[in-house]
Structure formats: structure tokens, C-alpha cells
Symmetry: C2
Subunit: 266 residues, 2 copies
């Protein structure tokens, strides 16, 4: 039953994660988990099932396969490894990794791409300026494209969903405006746009000029991008962007720059 | 004057950062910046000075030397690179990198060490269990020590200051309690301790037993560790910890798990 459901979901390109105990009591026990359906099977302990499924759905969201260790009832780290048997669970994710498309090959791009890779994203960097958009400047990116936003989003936009992110770091209205228009035409889960509050205000004017005025559309834009944690360097900004993506995905109330006022850097 | 002050500060092991224009108008112009003193020199534009010094102090805090690009008045990315001359500034930090000591060689450790490395930390991983604390499991760490917290903090605690962080991920009171006691005896800027709210409550009891009851001491502990952004995986947790470190360093009001209630994972 587990393997039939697993095969069905893989065949229909739907995410699913299989948990198998590879060490400890109940070795070989399997559990199949999906984001919205009931679990199939059990690892032999209700609390272990709950904790391991929670972790496995996180791994599935990142498209990652891994081995996790627990105490017999799902303790994250057993209190005493010498006395307590450890359960090791093989977590097999069947899911493409989430995608992050970064528009703009700027100083902040490399830092954001690095942090996104730690989180398991497939990272695409795109800029129309071929001297900047090079694999040499962004060795950590999975793909670097020299092109404009519209063709990229026309070609790939329909693949983007709630797990994916578009980050627009260009600061250049020639590039920002079509990138935002293209992003809004997709179901991407996160759209962040970099810039000072002044740049943001100007950008809103330009968006109005091209007809982007729908409140629902504007509500999707995280601009200025990132959490209001006082980031200064590109690396700190990358952390603030990824923390905003994580927090908004699960619906936490996070202190986004969008919701605060005053200068971003103090 | 600039070079005399630079030499003096280096000689006394005090952080200082030297900015030099290496491309654009005013090539060769220098400015010396320190966290608490007036700048010496100028890059030739007051607004460029302000923006470049802000960035340079961030780089200094991370102990990083880099080249940054600006518009002539400090624009982060020039609006049109073809028409506007770009100013490239060589930022030389004279400062040891900040340190992060991670107690506990657990699943979360590798993810935290990876993100900390992106932020420029010197990362030390410490655990008393030699099968877990290996360079092979933590190739990204600068140092992996098989020992208990007390000797490490006795030997190195006096070097720790506001830029540094101690993260205690062990979940084991045998290890947590001496790590917390040792950390509180230093001037380290951030002390985070992992665990559920239940573990946190039990830990407070044990700390009371060993005499850690001072409100000022307990206020220094970020426990449960990290921002309340709904992190699930080790990598997401690493982002939430680093975002908390950044936010608290600059005194932002950030939604720490410590200040919220209810289960950490929903």
C-alpha cells in the first residue's frame, strides 16, 4: 500500500517523503508522509511519528534526502547516548528542490545565493549585463543567465509555486518593473524587491504607470526586501531575506522591513 | 596622520578599517574608520563617506577585507552603469574575525557552522563525545575539539567580546549547565541555548540549583535559541539563530522564541 501510493505520487510529480528506520528498534519500519494527506504506516511510536514527520516535511520542502537521529520517542538529541538506544531514520524526499530566481548580478547576489544553497534551493541568477552575470562571479549558483526578466519568467514561470522565491536585487527600474510584472503573473510563494524606502516609493509610481495597481498584487511584494534586523553587509542581508522567506511561508508574524518605517540602515 | 593612527590601533589590537578608492574619481583617496571614533580623511563626497563607512564598519565587524562598488555619491548600485562612473573602494579590515563557539556536535551544528561561515565567523565546534566531534562531520568548522565546555571557556573565554557568539545545542544538562556557567563568565555578545520550552524550564531549575539566579545573567540567555520564524529543518534553524544574533547586536526588537509562547514547531 505504501509503495503503491509512493509510486502513484512520483508518477504524477507530486511531493512525497518516505521514512525508514535504518538503526534501532523497529528497523525497517516505514512511514509515508505528504504535506496534506494522512500518513501511511508508522515508525512504531506515535510521538516519534509526529516529530519525524514534521522534520521530514521540512526536508521534503527543501527537496532533501537525509538521515536523522532521534530518541525512541522522537527526542531531538537523546539525553544520554550511552544508555538510550538511538533511532536513525532515512528520510527520502521525492520532490524537485525549491527554486530561487535572483534578478540582478550585484554585490548582494553572491551572499544570497550562498545562503540559499545552504537551505537547499536551486539558484538561478539572471542579469542582462554579460560582464556581471558570469559563472565565475557566482560559482555557487546552479545557473547564471544573461537575459532580461520577461523571457526567463515566460519560459519558467509556470513551474514556480509556493515553495519558490523570486528576489529582485537590481535597483534598476528598467529591470525591476518587468521582473515584478513577470513575477506577479506566477504562483511563486515569495517576491522580494531590494531598495531603500525612497527607491520603493519611486518603484510604486512606475508600477502604477504600467497598470500594476491591484491591492492583492502589491500585497505580494516584500519591498524593501528582508526582515528588519539591522543587516548591514550583503551576508547579513541574505540572512534577513531568507528568514523573511521562512517566516512568511509558515505564516508567522515577522518584523519585515515592509511593515516598519525609517531608514533601513541606522 | 591616517597611517600613524592605523599603526597605533593595530599595535594595540584595536579594530580599524581603511578605505581606499581604487577606481573612479579621487583615486587613491583614503578614509580611516573605527567603531567609536571620528573618521579621519574623506573619499571626496560626504554621502559616499557615510555609506562606505557604514558598510566598512559591517565588514570590520565580520573581520573581512573586500572591494565594494558605489555610485559617486554612495548609491548601492548605480542606476545606469553605462552613463555613471563607478567608484570602487578597497575596504581593509584590521580585526580578528568574530568567533562562534558551538557546543554540541549534533544535526543542527553543521547547518549552523555553514551559515556562520558565510557571515565570516571563526567557528569552533566542541563536544565531549569523540565519535561525534570529528573534522570529517564538520569540514566547514575552523576547529573541532573533543572536550568539555569548562576547559575551553577557561582557556579562551577572556578573548570573547560583543562580536562573538556561543551557541549551546547539546540538549544535555551535563553539558549545557557548565557551558552556560562558562559563557556567563565571559563578555561574549550572544549566548543561545537550544531546546524545547519544556527543556528550557528544566534547565532553569538546574541553573538555580548551581546558583545561577541573577536576573542579569538569565537575561543574557537566548533560550529557546533563535527567532520565532517557524523554522523546521536544521538549516532553517541556523538562519533563525543568525538572524537573532544580527538583530540583537544592533538592538532591534526581534521576535525571539524567548519572548513568545506555545510550541516552537506547529
Amino acid at each position: 500500500m505504501i509503495y503503491k501510493t509512493l509510486a502513484d505520487r512520483i508518477r504524477h510529480n507530486k511531493p512525497v517523503v518516505l521514512l525508514t528506520i535504518i538503526h534501532g528498534p523497529n528497523i525497517g519500519a516505514t512511514l509515508l508522509a505528504t504535506p496534506n494527506l494522512e500518513n501511511l504506516g508508522t515508525l512504531g511510536d506515535a510521538e516519534l511519528d509526529r516529530v519525524a514527520v514534521r522534520d521530514a516535511l521540512g526536508e521534503l520542502e527543501a527537496g532533501r534526502t537525509s538521515v536523522r537521529s532521534y530518541g525512541p520517542s522522537g527526542q531531538v538529541t537523546p539525553e544520554d547516548l550511552h544508555d538510550t538506544p538511538t533511532v536513525r531514520v532515512f528520510v527520502e524526499s521525492f520532490s524537485p528542490p525549491p527554486q530561487m530566481i535572483i534578478f540582478g548580478a550585484v554585490d548582494f547576489t553572491a551572499a544570497l545565493a550562498k545562503v540559499a544553497k545552504v537551505l537547499g534551493y536551486y539558484v538561478l541568477v539572471c542579469d542582462a549585463r554579460e560582464v556581471f552575470a558570469t559563472k565565475r562571479r557566482f560559482p555557487m549558483a546552479d545557473e547564471v543567465l544573461v537575459t532580461w526578466p520577461t523571457p526567463v519568467l515566460t519560459a519558467r514561470g509556470s513551474d514556480l509555486g509556493p515553495r519558490d522565491a523570486i528576489c529582485i536585487l537590481t535597483h534598476d527600474p528598467k529591470f525591476d518593473v518587468p521582473a515584478i510584472q513577470g513575477a506577479l503573473a506566477t504562483n511563486v510563494g515569495y517576491i522580494g524587491v531590494m531598495g531603500s524606502r525612497k527607491t520603493h516609493a519611486k518603484r510604486l509610481e512606475r508600477l502604477t504607470e504600467v497598470g500594476v495597481t491591484d491591492r492583492k498584487d502589491l500585497d505580494r511584494l516584500m519591498s524593501p526586501i528582508g526582515l528588519d534586523i539591522g543587516s548591514r553587509t550583503p551576508e547579513e542581508t541574505a540572512i534577513s531575506i531568507c528568514a523573511e522567506i521562512i517566516g512568511r511561508r509558515v505564516g508567522r508574524v515577522v518584523p519585515s522591513l515592509r511593515e516598519s518605517s525609517g531608514p533601513i540602515h541606522k
